[in-house]
């Protein structure tokens, strides 16, 4: 319990630091927000008036604290180009990105565990070796290129789905999930290959230990030993990897969204970057930071659940 609170406090402190870095970074950018909003031929008086209205004439720390206070209350400011509250804008698109991330995580974990165990069962056989080579190849394919290949094959050759035919989750959740499946596969496959590689080496390291020999001597089959004994220990390093992967998957979804023409967080982020709509960019970055830190926190907690030995070390 003590550990839990210590980690929680450390996470909140880190979040505070991140919020400061984000705010500071966007405060020192060249170009005044008021000038960019009014255009370069605005009069000095109107710029000064707008600066006062936007609160840009106040000292830096004061601006940060009031911004932070608003963020905590869920007010991330108003988007300049969309003309609506940033919080609402993001909340609308968040389910798309989260669904894609969760789907890819399920696929990655669900596929990599059986594949890695199968490779371990036939370790160093021709099957294992060719899978290992294939794995290396798959790891080198960028997710967005994989997405393009999947679009071409499933959308144009087989015509199983209509590229660009995204359905909103508000309209038809089933069709929404169906459309997100291919993007999720595109994100998951390279990550899956990496997990297979890590898991295979973790399992093979574990398989040399004595408790495995004991399990065999009790008459268990290879798959039984692998699933019931080895996997539990081999998964420990993988938990960290999958935790880090979630952050990568969110980033991946922002790129892959463009391949499948999905109007999610990625599109808003890119549009806001090109229009210099900073409140939106700040909001999205902060949100992703929260998700990343939350996942790290969960990984830390989960880690100790899986490996009770760590409990003693406080």
């Amino acid at each position: 319990m003590k550990y839990f609170f210590r980690k929680l406090i450390s996470m909140l402190l880190t979040l505070l630091a991140v919020s400061f870095i984000v705010f500071a970074a966007f405060a020192v950018i060249p170009g005044d927000a008021a000038v960019s909003r009014l255009g370069s031929n605005a009069t000095e008086e109107s710029v000064a008036a707008l600066r006062a209205e936007m609160g840009l004439d106040r000292p830096f720390l004061e601006r940060y604290l009031s911004w932070l206070g608003d963020c905590v209350k869920g007010d991330f400011g108003t988007s300049i180009s969309y003309g609506m509250p940033v919080g609402q804008l993001i909340l609308d698109k968040l389910p798309i990105t989260l669904t894609m991330t969760v789907l890819s995580l399920i696929l990655t974990v669900g596929l990599s565990v059986p594949i890695a165990l199968l490779m371990c069962k036939y370790a160093r056989s021709r099957f294992d070796r060719s899978m290992y080579g294939l794995n290396q190849f798959v790891m080198s394919i960028p997710a967005f290129f994989l997405g393009i290949l999947l679009t071409w094959f499933f959308g144009m050759v087989l015509k199983w789905f209509r590229p660009g035919g995204y359905v909103s989750y508000k309209k038809d959740f089933g069709a929404f999930l169906g459309y997100l499946l291919l993007p999720a596969i595109a994100i998951a496959i390279p990550k899956c290959a990496m997990s297979v590689k890590l898991l295979r080496s973790a399992v093979l390291t574990e398989a040399d230990k004595e408790y495995v020999r004991t399990a065999y001597s009790r008459g268990m089959s290879t798959m039984e030993v692998l699933y019931r004994h080895v996997l539990k220990n081999a998964l420990i390093p993988l938990i960290t990897f999958w935790g880090m992967t979630v952050a990568d998957m969110i980033a991946g979804s922002i790129v892959v969204e463009q391949v499948f023409n999905i109007p999610g967080l990625g599109r808003i982020l890119l549009t806001s970057i090109s229009r210099r709509d900073y409140p939106v960019v700040e909001g999205i970055i902060l949100l992703i930071a929260v998700v990343v830190l939350l996942v790290n926190f969960l990984v830390d907690i989960l880690y100790r659940k899986v490996d009770p030995r760590l409990e003693d070390q406080g």
Partner: protein
Amino acid sequence: MKALKKLSRNPYLFVGLILTVFMCLVTLVGLVYTPYDTTAMDLSDKLAGPSLRHLMGCDNYGRDILSRVMEGMRNTFVIALLTVLIGTVFGVLVGALCGYFGGLLDDILMRINDVLFSFPSILLALVIISLLGTGSFNVVLALGIAFIPSFARIVRSEVKKQAALDYVQSARLMGAGHARTIFVHILPNIVPVLLSSVMIGFNNAVLAEAGLSYLGIGVQPPDASLGRMLSEAQSYLFTAPWYALFPGLTIVLTVLGFALLAEGMSEK
């Protein structure tokens, strides 16, 4: 002879070396010669398929795809190399200082480092580009900064390990200053570890650059870029799938070559 024997016993190193050398050669040739002018348009060849005249076919303006792939490889290589250079130099500096001296500075810097590290580098680069604006130079800067944390982390833990060893103590006793101890005595010993992370970093930089260019905020037209070609090719996926296939395959093979090389080198 001995090296050859070692190569034949290590298929990853062998294939990786061949792929990497081939890709580097094509890139080098691309510096002085491309089959066609990369910007020459010939509308009669619009979206022409692969043939002997155009090995990879032509794009929607009738430009030779092979020539543009070669130019794209050059841009990608330059950006990735500079990115890794920035990442390594600053990563080594930060990592060595933190690992060697430890203390409060180490705590603070590594805290920040951990946060940045857990943040995907392509997102970090996106943020930096949104601050600096688009363009090749800013991409290098953004990716370079985004890559510092991963190098700093590796260097720090290696330096920390080395600093505890006897030879460092001896060097200090012989009157070597801190700077000399770090740069002359410790750093040469972590080069092998650094080398493999440089190769992996190079791959990540290639992938990140391709991703950014695909999103339209990396290399700007008329300069060719593999990522950008992919995004342009997507509109012609039905009529000319090879337009997307060849630039994409080039990225895959480049990354694969370096990955196999790193894999083969770690296998002794």
